[in-house]
Amino acid sequence: MNPDALIESYVAEVVRHLPRKQRTDVGYELRSLLTEELRGRVGDSAPDTAATLDLLASFGRPAEVADRYRPAGFTIIRPADAPRFAWISLVGVAVQWVITLIATYTAPATGAGDDWLSRLGTWWLSAGLGAFWWPGLLVSLSIVAAVITARRDGDAPDWTPRAASMLDRDHISRPLYVLAIAGALVGIAALVAAINLAEWWPGLPQPLLDAFVIDADFLATRAPWALVLWAATFASMIAVLVAGRWTRTTRLLAIVGNALWVVLLVWWVAAGPIFVQPYADSVTKGCLLLVAAICVLDLVLTARHLRHGIPEPAV
């Protein structure tokens, strides 16, 4: 290949990565500069293929050279966020795979030809590949966030002492905390009302009243423990509200409280019916297990928070 053709091909590859309106102008200039560089390198002798390739190698990969021609773009995922982003993406896909695989292989057989391989094939072409919507969604949201951030760059709020004070993870917002306590009280009131539905609102439709009939044994043995834990939880919440911040003691109390709630909820679910109606009972138990899972998550996060001090280096 002759040197001019090599340079021509190289320049074409560089400008391919540039905006269309720049290509001719930059391409012509770059070709002329590279030709001149080559002549400068070989001096009086005729340029050959080896010298041309040396020049092009030193100039850089076409895509990288094109990057240098472009102004700095915007970052979609910041380096500091990249490991967490990868982790959230992969775990999201893995969780979907586990759930859908379990559902696929526990579904009843549909007849001849319904073997494990055909189920796997069907799963892969539906839920298996479909699970990638999650990383796709995360990337799309990151792009939207990055574009908005890039546009608002000039209006970005200043990093002030007040903004820095928001980093205090032990600080609580008292109004929001009061709202949380009020929400919890409303929830408990609704629960108590549901239990006493037949007594308080006897005029309601019978199927509704039947659905909320509580198992007598549950009410007598397992339910009262909730009152003890509710009282302890409220005492702990009031302590945090008065102090205006979490302390090591209140966090330890929260961990113990969460652990006790998990034990109580699992006991409720495992030890027998809660509602007399089987359907209402199974729905309630599902919800209670979900609440128990949330308690476990909160427990883990609180424990991590407690453990995450900066240890003193070994000297």
Binding site: V26, E29, S32, L33, E37
Partner: protein, 110 residues
């Protein structure tokens, strides 16, 4: 092993724009500018310099035009009014920085 070349490259990167602006008080095209810089002891890789000229022009620091003088058409670059202003300010900053650095390095020798 310490990557001396990489650190030296980073050091040069910091003064690249000032070096280029200093040579564009008079009109130059890419290759002649690179030669001029190399002759004064500041060699800059062609793959770095030529795209840099375009970026500086996009920022309004350089003005350019095609000219055909004794050969094929070439794109000539020179400082714009904004570029000249920036050049003055950067020159002052550099003078101050060079003094500080000299003192720091002299102190190290003593």
């Amino acid at each position: 092993m310490v990557a001396i070349a990489k650190h030296e490259q980073d050091l040069r990167k910091g003064v690249l724009v000032l070096a280029v602006l200093s040579q564009l008080r008079d009109e130059q095209y890419g290759y002649s500018l690179r030669q001029a810089l190399a002759k004064r002891g500041m060699p800059i890789e062609e793959g770095t310099l030529y795209p840099l000229l375009r970026r500086l022009e996009a920022q309004g620091l350089l003005a350019s035009q095609w000219k055909a003088e004794n050969g094929p058409p070439r794109r000539y670059y020179a400082l714009s009014a904004t570029g000249a202003e920036l050049y003055r300010e950067l020159s002052e900053s550099w003078a101050s920085l060079a003094t500080v650095m000299s003192e720091l390095l002299e102190g190290e020798k003593r």
